[in-house]
């Protein structure tokens, strides 16, 4: 009885020697298929593949990372609100106003980059290599434009005398907006590397996880900005 079972299960005789006792093994009573095991694969985005876990490792890992990012910004935004609520007059007297208009246009630029990123993702799903590269280029261009405008506005604000040491007003502005800018920079660097691979036709219609992951981070960074714009510039 036990020998019968082991003959079907144990494939290599070498393993049988290592095992001190031959265990009778039957079919797993639950989970007819293993819940995962092959990590970092290109399964992401393929709806017809039900063998793996609902979220691939890379996708899940990035989601978890974004959870941590959210808590990081929650700490900074919470601190900002503590100061903002405590001040009747904001910005405090004698300090320059923030460039609401220019930054508003800049916000639209960043939001547009999310749309082009989405078009890139859709393009590669149907195998559109050239469209993918073109849309990634536009997205990277929009992201870099956003950073350049932000940097230019920072330089102007510094000239007007708004520095890190300008009370909590200057400190929260530069730290909050600066932390976001660092994230955009990181997203741009990631995007450029994806672009590099896309130009070499690394991604296919069924293997576009690299694009999708980058897009997810890009959306996160883009979606964060209107919140910060509303709080720091408008509130």
């Amino acid at each position: 009885m036990a020998e019968d079972m082991s003959a079907t299960v144990t494939l290599e005789p070498a393993l049988e020697e290592v095992e001190s006792e031959v265990r009778p093994q039957g079919p797993p009573p639950f989970f007819p298929e293993p819940p995962g095991g092959s990590g970092g694969d290109d399964r992401f985005g393929d709806d017809d593949d039900h063998a793996g876990p609902p979220l691939s490792n890379a996708y899940l890992g990035l989601l978890i990372f974004l959870g941590a990012e959210t808590m990081f910004f929650a700490g900074l935004i919470g601190s900002f609100l503590v100061f903002r609520v405590a001040h009747e007059v904001w910005p405090p007297a004698m300090l320059p106003r923030l460039p609401v208009g220019v930054t508003g246009v800049n916000t639209l630029i960043l939001l547009a980059s999310a749309l082009t990123m989405r078009r890139a993702k859709i393009a590669i799903r149907s195998g559109g290599q050239r469209e993918l590269v073109r849309m990634l280029l536009v997205t990277a261009g929009l992201g870099i434009t956003f950073l350049l405008v932000q940097g230019y506005e920072w330089l102007r604000l510094l000239q007007y005398g708004l520095t890190l040491a300008s009370g909590v007003y200057g400190a929260t502005f530069y730290v909050l907006v600066g932390c976001h800018a660092v994230h955009v920079l990181g997203a741009v660097i990631w995007l450029v590397s994806v672009l590099w691979w896309a130009a070499r036709r690394r991604y296919t219609a069924r293997g576009s996880a690299g694009v999708a992951l980058c897009a997810m981070y890009w959306y996160y960074v883009v979606a964060l900005w209107p919140i910060l714009y509303g709080l720091v510039y408008l509130y």
Partner: protein, 593 residues
């Protein structure tokens, strides 16, 4: 010719020394790396505590090992001569000592050993996976941790000494460079940067643990079949993931305050010192459970294994850990009752804090329920697990006192608090020892000496209680925490004999760890070879060879039941591993397919 080609062939399969021991991608090796780093830091953190105790027991007397140095040595420019002239702990050095003791013990001992060490070693193997979800990220997690360790150790040698603002580094004391040191201000800055760096290390670990546990379980390993150690590490990973970034943001602001002239926490420039406390404790209280939950998980596994009984109320254990984790987000204000917060708000924090006693009590009573009527095997691991339960009970009960504001006003920042945190956090060391004695055979393929282990337990347990229990009395007597010289206060002079007694006991407690060091290192080299399942335990790691090879299992495990089927009536032995398939009793001899 053929010999050399054979050697090349073998070398191709075996990783090089550096790749194997340093830049390994294998979760078991990374776990061992974290373990050894943590044990090394345990020695340093322990020695710092000994010096703290020396100063409190024998205020402003030369440290005992300093007698041999000549006058020339103390006239010289050496680090010791500058930091502790004539072997006497200066007040600045004293501040550094207790700050770094706490920081090192929390961030560089308990977290690396419990989460980095046990977590890395156990998470994949206990759920039947071959490795972590992201092995490279796992390696990076360790090698991000190392610079954090080095910076923290380096900070002892910068001008002005290491951070001295307490492990909580309250602003504005820590935010203003002039307050912290004599001439230099690098201590607190390096402290911030070091914690900032290990925040990234923890983040990488958390991502790995959560993804691995969600996606990589073996067939049949449902969430509610996981050992409680894995459950605790899963919950801890989520806590760390969400709590540490808040500290990271606060540390960033602190560094900006110190280096770039911002005024987040400095009232002069419109800043808010209390903001630091809120951010710190919003991280800090989940951190407390980050430290204690893995010890609870390890204790549950060890208790059940050596009581030869299923853990009492498995699901209740899981749910109570989830409840503790959830409640830990809404209790941070109980660290700040004395900060001038609205008493109404304080009452709310009192209530939420009291609520945590409920899941904690469920766990404690379930441990007792597991022991009830069992046939206990008194191994060293079991002794340490029992020690953890008893210390946690004392520490948990004293926590209820300080949760209520009227009592806390009296005992706030006294040695009562010091006693409490040591019963809880230093009690975790008992969980660590329980885990080490339990999993040492699996980690290193050799058995530890039970005789030395039991001696180590006995001495540690006795001296631990003799050290920390009297601190309750000191605290009620009004002995403040973090004071340099208790003899300077007239009302504390009657207590000085107790302080001296505590110091002697603390030195004995430290010395008792020599038995552990001998046992640990000796067993690594000369220990008896361990069989695969020396404790006759159920969980998947005991299916693998000791130590497990790369890929962990000789054949992919399939899980058929929960982790705690001890003394099952279905089998003759008193253990029933998770991966053993039993024919259903009702099925016919040949009928089953």
């Amino acid at each position: 010719m053929s010999e050399s080609s054979a050697a090349t062939h073998a070398g191709h399969h075996r990783e090089g020394f550096v790749k194997h021991y340093f830049f390994s991608l294998d979760h078991k090796m990374i776990g061992r790396q974290f373990l050894f780093t943590g044990l090394f830091m345990l020695v340093i953190g322990g020695l710092l505590a000994m010096m703290v105790r020396w100063q409190l027991g024998y205020p402003e007397e030369p440290l005992p090992f300093m007698g041999g140095f000549s006058e020339d040595f103390w006239d010289g420019e050496s680090w010791w001569a500058q930091t502790a002239p004539f072997g006497i702990v200066t007040s600045e050095f004293y501040n550094t000592l207790f700050t770094m003791h706490a920081t090192i013990m929390i961030f560089f001992v308990v977290m690396p050993i419990m989460i980095g060490g046990f977590g890395n070693f156990l998470v994949p193997i206990c759920i039947g996976a071959k490795d972590m979800a992201f092995p490279t990220l796992n390696m990076l997690s360790y090698w991000t941790f190392v610079p954090g360790v080095l910076l923290m150790l380096l900070s002892f040698f910068v001008p002005g000494g290491a951070a001295g603002g307490g492990w909580t580094s309250y602003a504005p004391l820590a935010a203003v460079p002039d307050y912290a040191g004599v001439e230099g201000h690098w201590g607190v800055t390096l402290w911030c940067i070091s914690l900032f760096i290990i925040g990234f290390s923890s983040l990488m670990g958390s991502i790995n643990y959560i993804t691995t546990i969600i996606n990589m379980r073996a067939p049949g390993m449902r969430l509610f079949r996981m050992p409680l150690t894995i459950w605790s590490l899963f919950i801890v990973a989520i806590l760390l993931l969400l709590a540490l970034p808040v500290l990271t943001s606060a540390l960033a602001m602190m560094v900006f305050d110190r280096l770039f002239g911002t005024n987040f926490f400095i009232p002069d420039g419109g800043g808010e010192p209390l903001l630091w406390q809120h951010l710190f404790w919003f991280f800090g209280h989940p951190e407390v459970y980050v430290l204690v939950l893995p010890a609870m998980g390890v204790t549950s596994d060890v208790l059940s294994t050596f009581a030869r009984k299923p853990i009492f109320g498995y699901r209740a254990m899981v749910y109570s850990m989830c409840a503790i984790a959830f409640l830990s987000w809404v209790v941070w204000g109980h660290h700040m009752f004395q900060s001038g917060m609205d008493p109404v708000l304080g009452t709310a924090f009192t209530l939420t804090t009291m609520l945590i006693a409920v899941p904690s009590a469920i766990k404690t009573f379930n441990w007792l329920g597991t022991l009830w009527g069992s046939s206990i095997r008194f191994t060293t691991a079991m002794w340490f697990a029992l020690g953890f339960v008893s210390l946690f009970t004392i520490g948990g009960l004293s926590g209820i006192f300080m949760a209520s504001t009227p009592v806390d006003i009296f005992i706030h920042d006294t040695y009562y608090i010091v006693a409490h945190i040591h019963y809880v956090v230093a009690g975790i060391i008992f969980g660590i020892f329980a885990g080490l004695y339990f999993w040492f055979p699996k980690m290193f393929g050799r058995m530890m000496s039970e005789t030395l282990g039991k001696l180590h337990f006995l001495l540690t347990f006795v001296f631990f209680n003799l050290t920390f229990f009297p601190m309750h009395f000191l605290g009620v007597g009004g002995h403040m925490r973090r004071i340099y010289n208790p003899e300077q206060y007239e009302f504390l002079q009657p207590w000085q004999e107790m302080n001296t007694f505590i110091t002697m006991m603390a030195l004995c407690l430290g010395a008792s760890q020599i038995f552990f060091a001998i046992n640990f290192i000796g067993s690594l080299i000369w220990g008896r070879r361990a069989e695969d399942n020396p404790w006759e335990a159920n969980t998947l790691e005991w299916d693998a060879p000791s130590p497990p090879p790369h890929g962990n299992f000789l054949e992919d495990p399939v899980v058929y039941r929960g982790a705690y089927e001890y003394s099952s009536p279905e089998v003759e032995e008193d253990w029933l591993p998770q991966s053993v398939y039993l024919e259903p009793a009702v099925a016919g001899e040949e009928g089953h397919d």
